[in-house]
Amino acid sequence: MSTATMGEKVTITYNDKIVRRFMGASLIWGIVGMLVGVVIALQLAFWKLNFDTPWLTFGRLRPLHTNAVIFAFVGNMMFAGIYYSTQRLVKARLASDFLSGLHFWGWQLIILSAAITLPLGLTRGKEYAELIWPINIAVALIWVVFAINFFWTLAKRNEPTLYVAIWFYIATIITVAMLYIVNHLSIPTSLIHSYPIFGGVQDGLVQWWYGHNAVAIFLTTPILGIMYYFLPKAAGRPVYSYRLSIVHFWSLVFIYIWAGPHHLLNTSLPNWLQSLGMIFSLMLWAPSWGGMLNGLLTLRGAWDKLRTDPVIKFFAAGVTFYGMATFEGPLLAIKSVNALSHYTDWTIGHVHSGALGWNGFMAAGMFYWLAPRLYGRKLYSESMANMHFWIGTIGILFYVAAMWVTGIMQGLMLSETKEGGTVLTYTFIQTVNAILPLYHLRALGGLMFMVGMVMCAYNIWMTARGTKPADATAEVFVEKVEAKLGLGRGIFNAPVLTCLGIVVFSTTWAALPGIWTGLSILGLIATVALGLMHKEFNNQSWSDWHQALLGASLPFSTLVLVAAVIGGVVQILPTVIVNRADNLEGVRQIPYTGLELAGRDIYVREGCYNCHSQQIRTLVGDVLRYGDPSRIGESIYDHPYQWGSKRSGPDLAREGDGPNKKTNDWHYRHMLNPRDLSDGSIMPNYPWLETNLTDLNALPRKIEVQKMLGVPMKGGTPDEIKAAALAQAGEIVADLKNARIDVKPDRELVALIAYLQKLGKSEIIAPQSPAAPEAKTAAK
């Protein structure tokens, strides 16, 4: 376990070419992603900007915006920052130029594929996880390339100790891999389509375990690592408290993974999970603000630079936005606050204060710091960078303020009642029209932020133009590590085993009855006593273990993985095991027919979930507007689940059943021009659904996969399946004919109407009744 060292001076040539590439890609894709963001913001304000064109509609462009900003803009920025700082922190060139190049070009190809497939409507229908399965596999492979390159560099390092920024990078690589793989588990039905293996509440929980941590682990932890490296560099002084950064790291990595269920508060998610999500979110206040204060206090004594240095300006504002966003996040995770904020634009404002203020400004600060060093020339224009800062800041404030006001106003209006709380005061469309003017301000704010980013790209382009950048070299005095802590001794030792014993016995004490409670208490006392005795007699070994762990990436990474896995296992496994169709009580969804499934796939393709939820919460406003609260069983066969996260339009959970049910001709006319039936609607027209043919040939395979997933759909031969779908379509067509609408049964609009009319249809099941025989057979 001991590490002997000997000194040696070596010259290192860093691979800065890859950093320049990732920085350039981040700027280009950032502008593209923000431009799409401005377009969709304008589409909400002016519905005609959807141009009645499939690939230009809001539902298809919003996933392009979110994916471009998260994975293309922040992803490329993150890789640039990680590769630059890691090489210098571990005093070694990146392990493989080939893997670095493969990582770069592979990632750009993935982004390009996403930019093509998403507007075409090729999607998995889950937020931030929309990309189709072949691209998912490519993402996983390129992530592995990144991981190999990174850990190989750590293995070759000349600096024995791992700085805290490296810890954040390790956590990012491990946790993102785990989250991405689990949430993207699917069974393909064709080369461009698949169904996720989880359905209903299970899918919702897995989705937000992933979705929340897309924010936490992809947009936060690597950027914190970048903060802990670049902020001290820019300020010219070490981080305010390194000890605080260690506590910040472990608390954040451990707590973040548990907080996902706060995206499903007041829904039919089991209550214990909602409580868990809420409380762990509240606990996040402490480490997040610890990190923010650590960042801001690093600038102590360097505040004078704030007046002149754009890098410090961006970093100071970025860290402040981190603090504001991480204050607002737990606030929104409080169940009663969430009752007002959820499904409204308040959440959108919260996300953008983090994405624009934290990610966008940290990226800009890092780029302005890097450019002169990567190109060996002074920044082209400091005043332009300062201008970028101010236009960006004002843009964020416009955006966020507009979203706060719209979110709170719409939330209050939607829940306002009169006549003793028995009647709603406003219709949904009235609330939309009330917030519409603020959508203009939001679009203006987004546009200003994008203009700032264009200025940044131009400034860096002009800095780089005409230069012949070379890779930086450094002569460093390195400490060769002769012996490192192995995996076995890193994990299986007295400190770790003592902690494990305490956890196990505390748990059994809380969970088990009778004599086991007493035995657990005895076990707990014995573990603590043995641990203390061991430490008393082997104090040096406990100390050595911890010091060695700081320089041993393998056991360190394993412990990070354990911290990340625990949250997922405790939350997801019970839900997957228990909340299945054959354990349900109360109501159970009636499985879709072939035509309804085809209609559902059209609903997913058009991205309807980007504006419509399918979940009635346990709140007065929801119940009065849409009916009884949704129950787990009502969406148990939905692969993917479609509970949604935002309501720009009303909830559709019971669209086909109950007081909100519409006629077939209402849906037909509404899809062609929503304003004919709902004056003031901001929904796009969908004229192509009237002419597009429903893909009935794909149905046999789709039904086969649904049955594999445990959905008791009615099967049959391909001809029987198609005939059944056309027969059901024929009934809808006949009904439409009564309303003087002439349409052929094989059109997509007919399938979509079949699906919409099925929403909310469920069967009552008696307590403890066995599941339907067909369901059991299918599950087997």
């Binding site: 922190l89 002084r237 070490p238 260690i246 707590i255 089991p270 868990l276 505390s506 403890q768």
Partner: protein, 54 residues
Amino acid sequence: MFRRILIENWQTTLTLVSFAIFGVVFISVLIRTMLAPREQIQKIANLPLEEDNE
């Protein structure tokens, strides 16, 4: 009814499990961090500032 007790309610103990795990992890990290040698902490904190001749 039995299904509710045997299958579903056991999950509520998982909230306690979560806090037990977090408590142990947090306190262990906190103690270890506070006891770490000052010289070593200062050395690591200065890693980003070590000179290179870029």
